[in-house]
Amino acid sequence: MDLLASIFVDPFLRMAGNPTFLTQVVWEGFVSGILYALVALGFVLIYKASGVFNFAQGIMMVFAALALVGLAEMGMPAWGALVAAVGVMLILAIGIERLVLRPLVNQPDIILLMATIGLTRFLVGLGEMVFGGEPKVMITEGLGIPTGVVRVPLFGKFLILKEIDITAAVVAVLMVGFLAVFFARTKIGRALRAVADDHQAALSVGISLERIWVIVWFAAGIVALVTGIMWGARSQVSFDLEVIALKALPVLILGGFTSVPGAIVGGLVIGIGEKVGEIYWGRLLGGGIESWLAYLIALGFLLYRPQGLFGEKIIERV
């Protein structure tokens, strides 16, 4: 009976008893979720356009952030380093299209996946060789990102918000809005959607697959750079940021591999779900459950919607 109460009653009493704390938990989950969504967005962009599950998305995030901080350490002004880091991601996108995607066109998906695993190891080695393996401090001050703490009165207590988290949320929302407009309203966006729907049909109307791939990998690189800046500012820029990309997997399972809105909603469900689960139910299982809770939530959804929340339903007739 006590066990049932600790599962079904006590957590809700705790939530009702301290609404400020509940809001704090949901806010922390929202920030994590929006950042997971950004990582997932990088996967979705590439998967939609080239059908490749980009295993290297996590390391692209680290590499982009390292390039930014590394170039700043070499004496570049912060905004100059930011522009240069964007340039690095463009060169990377062109290089990947020329050296990895183009030679492997029409190869089975598993070959492309293996190629992105190879790309991951290459970027790890290149990043360590050029920028070193030691963690670096994100150049928040140079980029004008605030790092203070804001205390907001709420229900007689204080909600503690990090300015970097507020910035991350705003930047993520802007980025998603920009990408939504880019896909829906621009010529390139429409071409990209055409490629995502049918490669051969897109080719037949004169859309250059190579050009679209470069654009998509570059866009994923920009998303990686923004995500790397935000995660790096919350902690530090180091190679262990790569493991955060693993959190994009349950987000993708939940939201579907081909849906931009799915990545956003999936990110928020996972982010908020894992925080609320850890804080109010985690102790019952010894704590530290959020590492696997995200996958459990995603698998729960899979039982009802195998294609994810917003993924395309695949119907294959025999």
Binding site: N18, F21, Q24, V25, E28, V31, S32, L99, V100, R102, P103, L104, M114, A115, I117, G118, R121, F122, V124, G125, E128, G132, G133, E134, P135, V137, T147, V149, I160, K162, W231, R234, S235, Q236, S238, F239, D240, L241, V243, I244, L246, K247, E274, K275, E278, I279, G282, R283, G286, G287, G288, E290, S291
Partner: protein, 442 residues
């Protein structure tokens, strides 16, 4: 043309990461493999340690011509703090006459402990690894000086007791323990649970999974909700600076937040900015470069371009000095082994004897150019950690400052627990070989 290139590129890049570089080993030198990690998630802690270890041994080579006139052959093998890679490094180097292994990972140490007695090569897990390995009767080939994690945890509780007006005053208090959810972080839990029962404080545990090191908001939300009176941390790598930042964010009093000696990297505290001021950690070595031995490292190694350290100013940082302390132990064990064996070219069995009879007194510390860097320390045949003293240091916003005397661990409580745990380990791994090595001998 591009397809073979893409394949070759994939294979080459993968092999480059997996295979350690293993140069040939000269027969007229003392071969010391260093299991280090300059890459991967824990490189932030590992690089400074690797530099300190390498540079001290290289300094002995450059300044003194090695140890007892015999050059030291130093070879690093990259483990990435990964147990499997650590074992690969061990297997790849043990046949080259390795004198001692320093795994720098509790996970790797646990893998090497059963191998040490079989291959007859000592494992030196300096202030980390399996605490019970301090029982020399059960683990003749494993050494963990200057103290175990259990000693460290007991000192943290003693320090807190001292601040609260005595250990008896801990009754009714709450002490939070935030730790990396890995063998390293879990190691002090049995001791802390035992002390909680004895002194009547409540122990709240906050595990940090490896993939959440960079995002500890859940753990610190729980801390915020529980409001423990004190916090103790067993963190490593990126976990440390993130924890310091989160603690500062929720306004946790930093002078009530004590990290283990491996949570006290300069970068760990610097990352917290002004909010990190007051953060405490345990330590067993001095910080800064104001010691003659470290001046010699700068002169004979760094200035000659023989070090990988990034900048003269990194010499003397806390992690660097942990590495120096580790290599000092290696060098003193070899020196001791040479004395016991009466020969310059010692083997691993001699070094085991050298470790087992290590007795570094104040005069020797001064002779090494390390006066005030460390406390005198001793290892015995029964006690392979020595249960030596540690002190508490505090971050003042720019550097670490010593804020306590050397504090002795609770030896009377820990020793019986260590022996019981060693017996439990031997029973679990039966048939565990009985010790046959003579005390301080082969």
């Amino acid at each position: 043309m591009f397809k073979p290139m893409a394949l070759a590129f994939s294979v080459a890049s993968t092999l480059a990461v997996v295979l350690p570089a293993v140069p040939a080993q000269a027969e007229d030198s003392l071969y010391v493999p260093l299991l280090t990690y300059r890459t991967g998630p824990y490189a932030g802690s590992g690089i400074g340690i690797a530099d300190g270890m390498h540079d001290y041994l290289e300094m002995l080579n450059q300044r003194d011509g090695g140890i007892g006139g015999v050059k030291i052959a130093i070879e690093e093998c990259e483990t990435g703090y990964n147990s499997q890679k650590g074992v690969e490094c061990y297997e790849a180097t043990k046949g080259k006459g390795a004198l001692v292994y320093n795994p720098w990972s509790t996970g790797i140490t646990l893998q090497l402990i059963p191998k040490a007695g079989v291959d007859k090569i000592p494992v030196l897990s300096m202030a980390y690894g399996l605490s019970a390995a301090a029982d020399g009767k059960t683990f003749p080939w494993v050494f963990n000086p200057p103290m175990t994690y259990w000693d460290g945890a007991s000192v943290a509780v003693k320090y807190i007791g001292g601040k609260e007006g005595g250990l008896a005053k801990l009754k009714g208090k709450t002490i939070g323990f935030i730790y990396l959810d890995a063998p390293y972080g879990k190691e002090p839990i049995p001791l802390l649970e035992d002390l909680a029962k004895e002194y009547g404080f409540k122990l709240m545990k906050y595990p940090v999974p490896g993939d959440k090191m960079q995002d500890q908001s859940s753990q610190w939300l729980n801390v915020q909700s529980d409001s423990p009176d004190w916090m103790i941390m067993w963190g490593w790598g990126a976990m440390n600076p993130t924890a310091v930042k989160e603690a500062a964010k929720i306004g946790y009093p930093m002078d009530h937040f004590i990290g283990v000696w491996f949570s006290g990297g300069d970068d760990d505290a610097k990352a917290g900015g002004a909010g990190a001021k007051g953060f405490l950690t345990l330590n067993f070595n001095g910080t800064g470069a104001g010691y003659p031995a470290l001046a010699d490292i700068k002169k004979y190694v760094v200035a000659k371009g023989l070090s990988q350290v990034k900048g003269d100013d990194r010499v003397g940082e806390n992690n660097y000095n942990h590495g120096v302390y580790n290599s000092m132990l290696i060098a003193e064990a070899i020196r001791n082994a040479q004395k016991i064996a009466g020969k310059k070219m010692v083997d691993a069995a001699d070094v085991r004897a050298g470790l087992e009879t290590l007795n570094i007194d104040a005069a020797r510390i001064e002779a090494m150019g390390l006066k005030d860097f460390m406390a005198p320390m001793k290892v015995t045949c029964d006690d392979h950690s020595g249960e030596n003293s540690v002190y508490v240091q505090q971050w003042d916003g720019a550097k670490w400052t010593k804020v306590s005397d050397w504090i002795e661990p609770m030896k009377d409580k820990i020793r019986p627990m260590l022996v019981a745990d060693a017996k439990a380990y031997a029973d679990k791994n039966a048939p565990w070989p009985a010790r046959t090595e003579a005390c301080g001998g082969r």
